[in-house]
Amino acid sequence: MLMCHVKGCATDNFPLRIEDAELEQVEVEFNEDFMRRMINKIEWGAFVQTAFALGVDQLPATVPENIDTEFLQRIHRVAMETKLKEGKMICNGCKHVYPVTDGIPNMLLQETEV
C-alpha cells in the first residue's frame, strides 16, 4: 500500500522493491469480510510479485474467480501476518531507500525531495 512519493517520481514508483529483508510471522485476527474487501483494493500484480520475491508464497497471477475462505486465509497470512521487521524498501524509479527498523517503515523524504 506504500509507494514512493518523491516529488516528480512518477514512473516505477510502485511497488517498492524490498531488500535485506528480515521477516516476522505475527498473529492477526482473521476477518473474512475484511479480506474479501481488501482483495479488490490490493494491486494484485504488485502483491504477487512482492510475496514471491520475499519467498513468502507463490500466488496465482490473477485473482481466482471463485474466492473461498481457504484462499482468503492464505491472503491473510501473506498480507496481514507477514511483517517486514528489518530491511529496505527501494524505489525502482528514483532509487530512494526507505529503511524499515523494528517493523516501522521510515517514509520521511529529504527536504529537497518534497
Binding site: L2, H5, P99, L108, L109
Partner: protein, 395 residues
C-alpha cells in the same frame, strides 16, 4: 428501544450512558414477575451523593412491596435501580436541593460500557506522552467513527497511539503514522505503541505504524480507510511541523549520515489551518465511501465562528461538538464521506449548513469561500484558528 435485547446491544457500545432500567406503570402486571424472585436494590444519586444509611432508608421505603423472594446481594434474579436526580445545580453555581427533582425506579435491564473508561485509564497505561488522549474521549471518538470488526482505521497523528487502542478494542484493524518516529518507538525502555498493544492484548488488531509526514505521505491512491480518527497537533504542547527546506537551518553538505542512512529532513512549522485543510483533503480522497473522519479542531472562544470549520464537497458534516475550556475550546468534528452515487455537496447547500450552525447571523456568500480543485471549501480569509497558538499564549 423496542426490546431488552436492543437496549443491551446499544449499551454494549455506549460510554456516556450509565445503565438502562425498565419503567412500568401498571400495578398488577408490574409486580407479577417479581413476587417470588430473589432481588437487590441499587440506589444512585445524580448531582448529589447519598451515605449508606441514607441509601438504606431509601430502600426501606419500598418495604410495602409484596415481594416474598430472598434478598440476594451477590446473584439476585432481579436488580431494582432507584435513581434520584438532583440536577446539576452546583455546575450552575446553585446549591444542591434538599430533595431530588425527579425519581426513577425500575428493574435493571442493561449496563453500558462505561467500565471501559477504567480499563483504558491513562494512569494504568504503560506508554504515555504529553498529548495522550484520555480514555473516555478516545472511546467516544472510536465509537462515532464506527470502529468495528473488519474496519480499517488510520490515525495520521498517532503520537503514543491512544486511538489505535480504543478503535482496536471495538474490533477494528488500526494503523498509525506520525512525522515523529521517536513517539512511536518510545525511548528504548520497552515502552512504545507496541508495548501498549501488548498490555491490552490488542496486538492481533493494531497492525503497525509508519513514520511519515501527512503533508507528503506515501499512501497509494485508493479508498482504503473506513475511518480516520485523530487529534492533530495544535502547536501548543506538540509543535506541528512538515518537511520543507528551512532557510534558517544550516545547509546540509550531505543527506547521508556516517552509517549510510538518511539524515533527518529539515522541517518548517505546519500552520494549524494548513494541517486541518490537508487532513480534510486527505480524508475526502482516501476514506471509503461512507467512511468517517473524526478529529479535534482547537478554537479560541472569542474569535471562533462555525464558518471556520473547513468543508469539502465530498464530506458531510455530521456533528461539531464543543469541549469548552473557557478561553479556548476544542471541537470534535465528525464528517462522513458521501456514497459513490451521491452528487457533490454544492456551495449553496454548504453555506446554508454553515449559517444554520451560527448563533449570530453572518451573511455569507460564495465570494467568502474558496473552493480548491479537489473540492475542499475554506474561507478566503484565514479562519480564526489560524492564529490559535498566538491567541492561546496571549491568554
Amino acid at each position: 428501544m423496542k426490546s431488552a435485547a436492543d437496549a443491551k446491544k446499544l449499551l454494549n457500545r455506549s460510554i456516556l450512558i450509565k445503565e438502562v432500567i425498565e419503567l412500568r406503570f401498571h400495578w398488577r402486571k408490574y409486580h407479577t414477575p417479581y413476587l417470588k424472585t430473589s432481588f437487590k436494590f441499587n440506589v444512585t444519586a445524580f448531582g448529589s451523593s447519598l451515605t449508606i444509611p441514607q441509601q438504606v432508608e431509601r430502600i426501606e421505603r419500598f418495604s410495602f412491596l409484596p415481594y416474598d423472594g430472598d434478598i440476594d446481594l451477590k446473584n439476585p434474579d432481579v436488580v431494582f435501580s432507584l435513581y434520584e436526580d438532583y440536577n446539576d445545580f452546583p455546575n450552575q453555581g446553585l446549591p444542591v436541593p434538599d430533595a431530588p427533582i425527579r425519581l426513577f425506579w425500575g428493574p435493571f435491564v442493561a449496563e453500558s460500557s462505561r467500565a471501559l473508561i477504567q480499563q483504558y485509564d491513562l494512569k494504568k497505561r504503560g506508554y504515555l506522552g504529553t498529548t495522550s488522549m484520555d480514555a473516555e474521549l478516545s472511546l467516544i471518538m472510536s465509537n462515532v467513527a464506527l470502529a468495528r470488526p473488519g474496519s480499517l482505521v488510520l490515525d495520521p497523528f498517532v503520537g503514543t497511539g491512544s486511538f489505535l487502542v480504543t478503535s482496536s478494542h471495538f474490533g477494528a484493524y488500526t494503523i498509525g503514522s506520525d512525522i515523529d518516529g521517536r513517539q512511536i518507538r518510545g525511548k528504548g525502555n520497552g515502552k512504545s505503541i507496541e508495548s501498549n498493544a501488548k498490555q491490552y492484548s490488542l496486538e492481533d488488531r493494531i497492525l503497525g505504524t509508519v513514520v511519515c509526514d501527512i503533508a507528503h505521505h506515501p499512501w497509494r491512491d485508493c479508498e482504503l480507510w473506513d475511518a480516520i480518527v485523530c487529534d492533530p497537533p495544535y502547536g501548543v504542547r506538540a509543535g506541528a511541523k512538515k518537511i520543507a527546506v528551512n532557510p534558517k537551518a544550516p545547509p546540509k553538505t550531505s543527506i547521508y549520515n556516517r552509517d549510510g542512512g538518511y539524515k533527518l529532513p529539515q522541517c518548517v512549522p505546519y500552520e494549524l489551518d494548513d494541517v486541518m485543510a490537508d487532513l480534510i483533503s486527505f480524508a475526502a480522497k482516501f476514506l471509503v465511501p461512507g467512511g468517517r473522519l473524526v478529529y479535534w479542531l482547537p478554537t479560541l472562544t472569542d474569535s471562533y465562528s462555525p464558518k471556520d470549520v473547513p468543508r469539502h464537497k465530498r464530506l458531510r458534516l455530521l456533528d461539531n461538538c464543543e469541549q469548552s475550556f473557557n478561553k479556548w475550546a476544542r471541537r470534535m468534528i465528525i464528517m462522513e464521506k458521501l456514497k459513490a452515487d451521491e452528487p457533490d455537496l454544492d456551495l449553496d447547500a454548504l453555506l446554508i449548513e454553515i449559517e444554520k450552525g451560527m448563533q449570530t447571523k453572518v451573511a455569507l456568500d460564495e465570494k467568502d469561500m474558496k473552493v480548491q480543485g479537489d473540492g475542499l471549501v475554506t474561507l478566503i480569509d484565514n479562519p480564526a484558528h489560524a492564529g490559535f497558538r498566538k491567541g492561546y499564549f496571549k491568554e
